[in-house]
């Protein structure tokens, strides 16, 4: 390889495997498509990722089934396990792979969630990660005690305080507090281990935590969100950002902006990894890969799915139109909507106008238009091309690595691991084997120091307004389909 970066030490690529989600990125009409809920599917994908020496395995979450036109959306894969429970089971059948779960901070309480995450970290010997998302969505809230009726600003400050309380709980057992000395008869070092006292605007937690300090100190924190406040939250708090892919240029701009913010919090550039979601399509040659990519796109957008996409943008019933016919001459609704549990299209008129222009210019049917406008794969090519492109993105500081979203359960990562990973290893940018045992080791992150003496200062709860957000739903035109589903 002769590139201008040859003289510099090459950055290492980080890779994660996203279990295929409940949106149309996941193809179920392919005969090779397996169960989305059998544990065997999770085992297959996790072991494939571990065979490929991936950093971690990633599970999304959606706590209410999505609806379209007032009914449960029936065209996409749907149904999934409780994230942390299935990750705990996967800890038994993997040895090094990080285990990352998305858990909504809005519908949980810090004491319970912090102890579940600490438990997962113990049970996996230091491989746990938490993707922090929030919701202000009353629709999802209908499944929970608290409901979802937080205003947008509140939901952000609540999430920031949630992470803060969790860290206080994780720090409440100092590294030496578990003694378990049979001779002296001391099981714990003193009679007040786990003491926590937090009184903030959103949480009052007073008492004693009941899980000893976890192997990683704090499980790895992942955050997904792109707003200014989201970036600030990530810069202050997160270990990994799960970002959108976009182009090389967009990736570089995002990367530069977020890494720049780190110094405000006394953090080094390497302490926050930026890992966009990415889809891929492989072939023996670039031409074959392009054909494969087109075939996947066709399977992702069935005739019925094409109409459903259109209805989300137009905000009205479009079921009378032929998906293989032309775009009808109707205007989008300005108010209201037809979908629940998805991010809404912001400006329907503008998006619809753009779509209409493309349809007319290229003379496309409804289905062809939806295929054209949504969910192009991030990386399409031969294994050599894809390995080169991934390396280029990382060396160009457009990313530190990628969270790969396969389109098939459970075998969608097999080819990537068998054919692309060895090439990344040959390029010297991806580990040949795990060099450590914990997820923090894989990501090059230090174990946070336990700061019991600093705890009183950290308990006021009046954190700056830091803003985590959910990953938006794969809404056409608003977001590329590489973005995973449903967290809202």
């Amino acid at each position: 390889m002769t590139t201008s970066t040859d003289a510099l030490p090459r950055k290492r690529v980080h890779l994660a495997a996203h279990f295929p989600g409940v949106n149309n990125t996941t193809v179920w009409a392919d005969p090779r498509s397996g169960s989305q809920i059998d544990f065997a599917s999770f085992v297959h994908l996790a072991r494939t990722a571990e065979r490929g020496r991936f950093d971690f395995f990633f599970l999304a979450e959606g706590l209410r089934l999505r609806e379209l036109k007032g009914r449960i959306h029936d065209l996409d894969v749907v149904g999934r396990p409780e994230s942390l429970t299935v990750l705990a089971a996967l800890a038994a059948v993997t040895g090094r792979l990080g285990l990352a779960g998305t858990v909504n901070a809005t519908f949980n309480e810090p004491y319970e969630l912090a102890r579940r995450l600490a438990t997962l970290d113990h049970l996996s010997e230091g491989r746990a990660a938490w993707n922090v998302v929030t919701s202000s969505d009353a629709f999802t809230g209908e499944n929970f005690r608290r409901g979802g009726y937080l205003d947008r600003a509140d939901r952000y400050t609540r999430a920031a305080e949630f992470v803060r309380v969790s860290r206080e709980l994780w720090d409440s057992w100092a590294p030496g507090d578990l003694v378990a000395d049979q001779e002296s008869g001391h099981f714990v070092r003193h009679g007040d281990v786990g003491a926590v006292r937090h009184d903030g605007p959103h949480f009052t937690v007073e008492g004693h935590f009941n899980v000893p300090r976890a192997p990683q100190g704090h499980p790895v924190i992942i955050q997904a969100g792109d707003s200014d406040e989201g970036r600030e939250f990530a810069a202050s708090t997160a270990d990994v950002i799960f970002s959108r892919h976009g182009t090389l240029e967009e990736g570089r701009a995002f990367y530069t902006d977020v890494k720049r913010r780190l110094s405000r919090y006394g953090r080094e550039r390497h302490e926050l990894k930026i890992m966009p979601a990415a889809t891929f399509a492989l072939g023996d040659t670039d031409e074959e890969a392009a054909e494969h990519a087109a075939e996947i796109r066709r399977l992702q957008v069935s005739p019925q799915t094409a109409i459903a996409f259109l209805e989300q943008i137009w905000g009205r019933d479009m079921s009378a139109y032929d998906p293989d016919g032309p775009l009808p001459d109707v205007e989008p609704e300005q108010e209201g909507g037809v979908s629940q549990g998805r991010v809404q299209v912001a400006d329907r008129a503008a998006v619809a106008a753009k779509w209409r222009a493309v349809a007319e210019e290229k003379n496309l049917t409804i289905r062809q238009l939806v295929i054209e406008m949504t969910g192009r794969q991030s990386f399409v090519g031969s294994p050599a091309t894809v390995a080169r492109r991934i390396d280029e993105f990382v060396q160009a500081d457009a990313a530190d690595g990628f969270i790969l979203v396969p389109h098939l359960t459970p075998g969608g990562l097999d080819d990537f691991v068998d054919r692309v990973v060895p090439l990344l290893q040959e390029r010297g940018v991806f580990r040949a084997d795990y060099e450590g045992t914990t997820l923090r080791d894989h990501l090059g992150l230090a174990v946070p120091r336990s700061l019991p003496e600093a705890a009183p200062a950290a308990t006021s709860g009046d954190a700056p307004r830091l803003v985590p957000e959910a990953v938006p739903t794969a809404v056409p035109a608003a977001v590329p389909a590489a973005v995973p589903e449903g967290e809202s």
């Binding site: 179920w28 009409a29 809920i37 059998d38 544990f39 959606g62 706590l63 089934l65 449960i72 029936d74 065209l75 996409d76 749907v78 149904g79 999934r80 396990p81 409780e82 942390l84 429970t85 299935v86 705990a88 089971a89 800890a91 038994a92 059948v93 949980n108 309480e109 004491y111 319970e112 102890r115 579940r116 438990t119 997962l120 113990h122 049970l123 010997e125 209908e142 929970f144 005690r145 578990l178 003694v179 378990a180 049979q182 008869g185 099981f187 714990v188 003193h190 009679g191 007040d192 786990g194 949480f203 009052t204 937690v205 007073e206 008492g207 004693h208 009941n210 069935s302 019925q304 799915t305």
Partner: protein, 393 residues
Amino acid sequence: MTTPLHLAVALDGAGWHPAAWREEGARPRDLFSARHWAALVAEAERGLLDFVTIEDALGPQSTAPDGPDGRTDRVRGRFDAVLLAARVAPLTSRIGIVPTATTTHTEPFHVAIGIATLDHVSGGRAGWRAQVSGRRAEAAHFGRRDFPVLDPEHLDDRHVGDLFEEAADAVEVARRLWDSWEDDAEIRDVATGRFIDRDRLHYIDFSGRWFTVKGPSITPRSPQGQPVVTALAHARVPYEFAARSADVVYVTPHDREEARRIVEEVRAIPRDGAPLKIFADLVVILGADAAEAAERGARLDEVAGAELTSDAAIFTGSAGELADLLLDWQRAGIQGYRLRPAAVPYDLERITREVTAVLRGRGAFRAAYEAGTLRGLLGLPRPVSRYEEATTS
């Protein structure tokens, strides 16, 4: 002819005696490792036991009825039991796994999908020990509700009644969510583009005093359909909760007559569906013979600095003597036992290797697992979803 007994063990820390962690071979640092638990559950499975339970609570252990006791000489700290159960499930294949999850302070939706997920990852071996949290100290960990200090000598009837009413609502929500996907809801019909038949998914529309839950579940119906719900009960209000909500109840008689009286009382409570399985809890301190068991008990008490006390009866003796007692109480209507080993692995191994052998010799315990699910082991049929029944009847 003897009706076979069901046998379960209750796992907690190094065992149920407070000095168990100081016994030779206890390896107390391993209490916070997966391998400790994996080894115990594997041992229970080798003994062909019906299931293990795993204790849990939303606060540290304490000798005080409510709040910390400041002690440093006892096991403190526990894993989340549902996650621990999921961690050991793939390492076993036949034994039921029944974690404790609290109904107070938690979200019924999360608990329900956690147990359903455990059922998926274990291939149909999940249960749930539903437990209330009445302590003021635990409520303060959540900061949402102000409970009175729990005083076992002067229980506040209304507080206790509320806790169990809420628990019954939480179990009802879980059961509806577990049924909210009919078994054949997933159709993968390419012709119509439909992955699911949404007419076979159901809103549960639960509305109660403590919460409302819309549904449906996000988790498809699990192998058992309804994982096994269990509850420990010492008094009238929890008996009523168990009769209304559980499949298995653990009671705490101290002799055969009390066992008979409790069985009568529980059986008299009206209930829908299959009869409740009544198990008795016993703390067991075993030995090669009665004298050795007594010696072990005395040694443990001495290390602990106090005589062992428990809500359940404490049995000290040989495996043969324990088998006698189990068969004796069976005649009072007890159908199974949840044995609480005083110290692991010692007392667990006496149960799995000796007590089971004695019972088997008397025709009262299985020689091989006869079913692949926990419901199967307990003789409970796999229920059809209540919503399916409603639409087809």
